[in-house]
């Protein structure tokens, strides 16, 4: 696949490095079926990569939540201040 981050092997077992590099494509469903199967074989044997996969997903979610809490009302008086400068 041209737009993948890393050239994930598709015909021989993948390493922890391959999995780390290809994790986003794996989670986004961008790997070929053969590559996906190899990554899943690796997960079946490597607890460290399974943890990395789960931490990655949790990190994305935490990042979203951490910044979404800034969905706050503007500070008091901001609307008036914005209108004070005229185009």
């Amino acid at each position: 696949m041209n737009d993948t981050i890393h050239t994930m092997p598709h015909d021989h077992p993948v390493t922890c490095r391959d999995v780390a590099e290809g994790l986003m494509d794996y989670l986004d469903g961008m790997l070929s079926p053969a590559q996906r199967a190899l990554v899943e074989e690796h997960f079946a044997e490597c607890a460290s990569c399974v943890r990395a996969r789960e931490h990655y997903k949790r990190t994305v979610e935490l990042g979203r939540m951490a910044l979404a809490i800034f969905e706050l009302p503007m500070p008091a008086g901001a609307l008036d201040a914005l209108k004070r400068r005229r185009p």
């Binding site: 737009d3 981050i5 390493t15 922890c16 490095r17 391959d18 780390a20 590099e21 994790l23 986003m24 460290s48 990569c49 943890r51 990395a52 789960e54 931490h55 990655y56 949790r58 990190t59 994305v60 935490l62 990042g63 979203r64 939540m65 951490a66 910044l67 979404a68 809490i69 800034f70 969905e71 706050l72 009302p73 503007m74 500070p75 901001a78 609307l79 201040a81 914005l82 209108k83 400068r85 005229r86 185009p87």
Partner: protein, 213 residues
Amino acid sequence: MGEGIADTRAGARVQVDETSLLARVRAGDARAYDDLVDLYSQQLYATAKRMLGSDADALDAVQEALLGAFRNISGFDGRSRLGTWLTRIVINRCLMTLRTRRRKPQRSIEDLLPTFQDDGHPTRWTPVWRPPEAMDQRRLLALVREKIDELPEHYREVLVLRDVQGLSTEETARVLGDSANAVKVRLHRARQALMTLLDPHLEGEDTKQGPPR
């Protein structure tokens, strides 16, 4: 274009006749500027605040974006919602601010990426993280926010645009003037780096593991 929907204060949603507002802005009606501020400043502020962190900088970005949009309304081609167009403008403003702001020396992303031995094994096994329920959520999110701020700027901006602002890879690439592939690589690196920064804080006390070999 029919009726638009804009967020206003306190999350209330009101129907806005975008067509008539646009006509008034195009006619240079000064009161139309006030309506733009009323209708769009809250959602633009939320975007700017996420990108810049500081209230004052976020409000400056909103001010400049709204003034710029009002003066250059001819640049709005009507193919998107007015709110979407304004959001793009405020994102560009924020990017300019981020790029002129050299708050502190940028750390290298390389220092924050996982490292591997020649055979592809990691130099350190992935630690076990404490489960979410074992942590105070507010403190955790404040920590995550702090760590996002520690990411090198080019990586932080991609993370914010893609993961928080919800822009597509292609849209992020257009805003940043980069290729879609560059955006993907940077997003992946940004997430990996954030994970590394969170590691020492989320690692379970009794589950630390040394190097695999």
